[in-house]
Symmetry: C2
Subunit: 296 residues, 2 copies
């Protein structure tokens, strides 16, 4: 072929929209059974990015018919006060999912808050019980971003089974749970998984082996073309602002992958924005419906 | 060098003995503080291997000054009855650690039993909360065999940091928790980790890249010399009986590694028996002491 190659763009926004439509139907069915799924969203302080995320999540809830309850606490809120709120929400029968927006102020122990959320209402999937079930392969609620990665691959027609997945980055919200999820002996998993990070030597020789490469280290444009194998599938989980005087807002959003060059070598790639981001929100809705569905 | 190479044999038995002596001192210090560490050991049915393991563990407890309480239930015991016993042990102040010997009979849901054990008394480290803390890197009690692998490497003077660890096998008691443990940003970890298993393609090309290769798939002699990189460190977690008319008992114990050939290529290797096995028992004692130590 003489034509220049260009990777298939994995349209996370469109796939997320499909999921959100499905969720809407599921919510309608629950409402018929007199259950209106409810999500409590807790924001401590006024981090601008967190406010944007929360607005987006609440809008998505509203569209799907999920009730959302916003709780705003001051930056100076004590850990005790936040724990009390979480406890109240744990007891509240109208609340099926609880989301405490991260990051929390430094004086509050994140680990203690996440552990206080009832595992059954932990729609972010960060409670140790849910992380443990993920690692053991015994169910539970799954963290939204890794879950979104898995679902995006599945709905794009890419099997993970037997593939070598290389995850770059080992955060608790993406890298580690995604690795745990994809190594399971389970549908949509069964991958050989490698986790790379800041201490990895010979990073390039490892990323070059990936059938599926997941960039989740939070460094704008870190993954260059030479790090990617010809024909690989590349998921870009990163999202950073970079200054761009030409852009209307003075900045643009970029991922952890150098899209311009990698999209000429990969078989398929997620864009930023419009890739994994929207999937994360869709999976939050899916988790909320799961949490609201009565166990029969 | 014209001399035939031979790997350093990592003497798990000797290292475990050192740890057991340390534990003995720690127990003596606790007894001074009026705390005698206690381990409850629960056996359901009369699996011969389980009986051997339990006898070994109780003997190790006795030598270290840890009190052990054995609870034997019939093979036909109901799940309810076992849950009641676990609950009683959870409440018992003389019991700091609870070990339910696996495997359990088919009519009992293993997952339900392991989840019923109080995470603070879960000295096997199999409770979802402890598995989740392991994955998140937030403390908790660690599964004994992976913990033993880590400790064996550390006490043998091998740094894991920056090394490529390839784990073959993804069981809940070894492969998955070991991978989770070694990928952490933490002392004794910080490794690049790859997990291979039955669905892995190009297994050999992956194992050949390992600086540290861990064989834990439960297949006697699976890892051959050609799968191992010259100078690698090889941990053999497997243990199987193979018939051997020449042996006094009519069988001998072998690991997942073909020791005869691999020991000529590796830099260091654990034997079977006398490698990881004794380390597992030592770490059980260490976990029991940790569980018995009052939080100050």
């Amino acid at each position: 072929m003489a034509t220049k190659k260009q990777a298939r763009i994995l349209d996370g926004k469109a796939i997320a929209q499909t999921i959100r439509t499905e969720v809407k139907d599921e919510v309608a069915a629950l409402v018929q059974r007199k259950v209106t799924p409810g999500l409590a969203v807790v924001l401590v302080g006024d981090n601008p990015a967190s406010q944007v995320y929360i607005r987006m999540k609440r809008k998505a809830c509203a569209e799907a018919g999920i009730e959302s309850f916003e709780h705003r606490l001051e930056e100076s809120t004590t850990e005790r006060k936040l724990l009390n709120l979480v406890d109240k929400l744990n007891q509240d029968p109208k609340v099926h999912g609880i989301l405490v927006q991260l990051p929390l102020p430094d004086h509050i122990a994140e680990d203690r808050i996440l552990t206080a959320i009832s595992p059954e209402k932990d729609v972010d999937g960060f409670h140790p019980v849910n992380m443990g079930r993920l690692l053991a392969g015994t169910g539970g609620l799954r963290p939204c971003t890794p879950y979104g990665c898995q679902e995006l691959l599945r709905r794009s027609g890419y099997k993970v089974e037997g593939k070598h997945v290389v995850v770059v980055g080992r955060s608790n919200i993406v890298g580690k749970p995604l690795a745990a999820m994809l190594m399971q002996k389970a549908e949509g998993a069964n991958a050989t998984v490698t986790v790379c990070h800041s201490r990895t030597k010979k990073m390039t020789s490892l990323t070059q082996q990936a059938d599926i490469l997941v960039a989740a280290m939070g460094q704008a444009g870190f993954v260059k073309s030479r790090m990617v194998r010809e024909g690989a599938i590349v998921l870009d989980v990163g999202i950073s602002r970079v200054d761009d005087p030409a852009a209307a807002k003075g900045y643009r959003l970029v991922g952890d992958v150098d899209f311009a060059s990698v999209s000429k070598k990969a078989k398929a790639i997620t864009p930023v924005p419009g890739g994994i981001g929207p999937m994360t929100v869709a999976m939050l809705l899916k988790n909320t419906v799961k949490a609201a569905t009565p166990q029969s």
